[in-house]
Amino acid sequence: MARYLIRRVLLAVLTMFAVSVLTFLLFFAVPTSPAYVMCGKQCDAHAIAQTEQRLGLDKPIVTQYGEFMKGIVAGRTYGTGDLAVRCDAPCLGFSFRTNEPVTDIIKRTLPVTVSVVVGALIIQLVLGVGLGMISALRRGTAFDKAAVGVSLVGASMQIYFFGPILLLVFVYTLHWLPNPAYTSPFDDPVKWFTQMILPWVTLGFLNSAIYARLSRAQMLETLSEDFVRTARAKGLPKRKVYARHALRAAITPIVTIAGLDLGGALGGAVITETVFGVNGLGRTSVNAVNDLNLPVVMGTVLLAAFFIICMNIIVDVLYSVIDPRVRLS
């Protein structure tokens, strides 16, 4: 186990390194000088050169990459003398637009995105797995058919269509809910909940369609296996067989998918946050992309890759915990 983990982590570090090199090359090898983007049209050549020097953009790309990575690990200092600006580890640079440290931007917006994603994850797991399991147990009934139909449509539905529909119905027409926004749950939990419920339902309901299809198929497969019949034959009540034996076997692949989904959740969060105008990490990164605010974009991409790689490892370890047949080696 320990050896496996060490190997996986080493491999993950190597992958993270490759991702960072590629991202860096793509974003900082662009001909348009970031210094130009940063200070806009009013800057003359001298001012641009000065900015470039301060940001270290006049150095060769390898040195720049080295400094960037050093900044993440140990922090770095931009510029020299009086103009020097200290950026503590983990330093991802400063926003070209507002000069705010990227780390601060992420710290400010990440809780919003975590709120959206975790809330949606709970809905999609409870609703999706629940629907899938029940329709597998009641295969062929009207409930099953309705659930299959809903999940079919849900799997083809898009956040950027479903979100506006919900907004139109519940906010603009019925006035039941306030316009979605983010309030810290520690300040005002009720407000946080009512403002977040639409993003949760949108993301959660659409994702639950996939979970419902998957868990229904898994449950059907498990129910046809010998050990379920054996458990029934030895006299265990139905409920016990389903809840203890079948559910555990059927849930393993769902845990995998949920873990990987969580790793890539930022993608879905980007669209959800844009639809509802919630200022999370996703919306911030879209705005940064449109502004060519490269440090912010770079920070988001690296963070997203980090999440994906971490979740991959966690899922593999979790898999072996849930399913003893899987040996890590």
Partner: protein, 348 residues
């Protein structure tokens, strides 16, 4: 077994006339019952069998017809535009009220503008939808074809070559999978556009479409590659490959003439899953203002434009959203049917 009455499924097990024909008689059930067991069983190729199963699937029929209509609409868009009397970029500002909303009900539906007009710009919604579908379908199909082609080539090479080549290719696949696909698309498209066009502005529509396709292909070939690799790994030790090798066949012949025809079914399934996911991916990018640029009509951007008028003219958003939904739903249903037809044992 031979005494049982001739139900259509029993033929499969009965090696009538010594001909083991797989599931051949699954053909037309009515025909089978009518024909006495004396008639010869027709040998059918797996492809023909799949086609027969697909033809009998009602969901496949309906979704197939919907797709066909959409294809025809998209292909014949210029012709339809001529017959219909307006195109996707004309601005009918005379039909808008002073604040830029279409006159009349439901977004300005009228005899000459069947689905109304776009708020502010006054462009015809129906023509925008048809041309937008064209954009979606072109991007999705080209991306899917490139994705699958690259995946096949890399997968076959990795699977057949084995050893160090396989390890390296596998690591590259792992690496690409670690990239946050959507975030990276989002970030790469404006940055690359900027790198090519700089501050000149005017991005050509063709360049942007090509870039979207390239980015999609760059990050999606991994799945078909993995799949093909796995299939090739199990196939390469089989006798027919050995026979081909013994007969002196070259590497290219073995790879593309012997191995490839045996893995078409899973490849087709991957393709059918890829197309709708690229349609939604492209629409999502355009929704975030990062996809296709104006004035090329695009479904995702229509929704994005529509959200600003959600309270005053919801019809515009609803129509464009519904079009994407129908398109993707039809593709998904058809894809499911194709998968069932190719692999009847699979239970969804």
């Amino acid at each position: 077994m031979t005494q049982t009455p001739a139900g259509p499924h029993d033929f499969a097990e009965a090696p009538a006339g010594g001909l083991a024909v797989g599931e051949a008689p699954l053909g037309e059930p009515g025909e089978e019952v009518a024909a006495p067991s004396g008639t010869a069983i027709i040998g059918r190729s797996p492809g023909q069998l799949a086609w027969i199963r697909l033809k009998r699937d009602r969901v496949a029929l309906v979704s197939g017809i919907v797709l066909l209509i959409m294809f025809v609409l998209a292909i014949a868009a210029p012709l339809i535009s001529k017959l219909y009397g307006s195109n996707a970029t004309d601005q009918h500002s005379d039909l808008l009220d002073t604040s830029g909303y279409p006159l009349g009900y439901l977004g300005g539906i009228s005899g000459s503008h069947w689905l109304g007009l776009e708020p502010q710009l006054g462009r015809d919604v129906l023509m925008q939808l048809i041309y937008g579908m064209r954009t979606s379908l072109v991007i999705a199909f080209v991306s899917a074809i490139i994705t699958v082609a690259v995946g096949i080539i890399i997968g076959i090479i990795a699977g057949y070559a084995g050893g160090i080549v396989d390890s390296v290719l596998n690591w590259i696949i792992d690496l690409v999978l670690a990239f946050p696909f959507f975030i990276f698309c989002l970030a790469a498209i404006p940055v690359v556009t900027d790198a090519v066009y700089g501050s000149r502005g005017d991005v050509s529509a063709l360049f942007r479409v090509g870039l979207i396709i390239a980015v999609f292909a760059c990050f999606s070939w991994t799945y078909p590659a993995r799949l093909v690799r796995g299939q090739v790994l199990s196939l390469r030790e089989r006798e027919f490959v050995e026979a081909a090798r013994a007969a002196g066949a070259g590497m290219g012949h073995i790879l593309f003439r012997q191995l490839l025809p045996n893995i078409w079914a899973p490849i087709l399934v991957v393709f059918s899953l890829n197309v709708p996911s690229f349609i939604t991916g492209e629409a999502a990018l355009s929704f975030l203002n990062i996809g296709v640029v104006e004035p090329t009509p695009d479904l995702g951007r229509m929704i994005n434009n529509g959200t600003s008028f959600l309270q005053t003219d919801p019809f515009y958003t609803m129509v464009s959203g519904a079009t994407i939904l129908i398109l993707v739903l039809a593709f998904n249903l058809f894809g499911d049917s194709v998968r069932d037809a190719l692999d009847p044992k699979s239970s969804r």
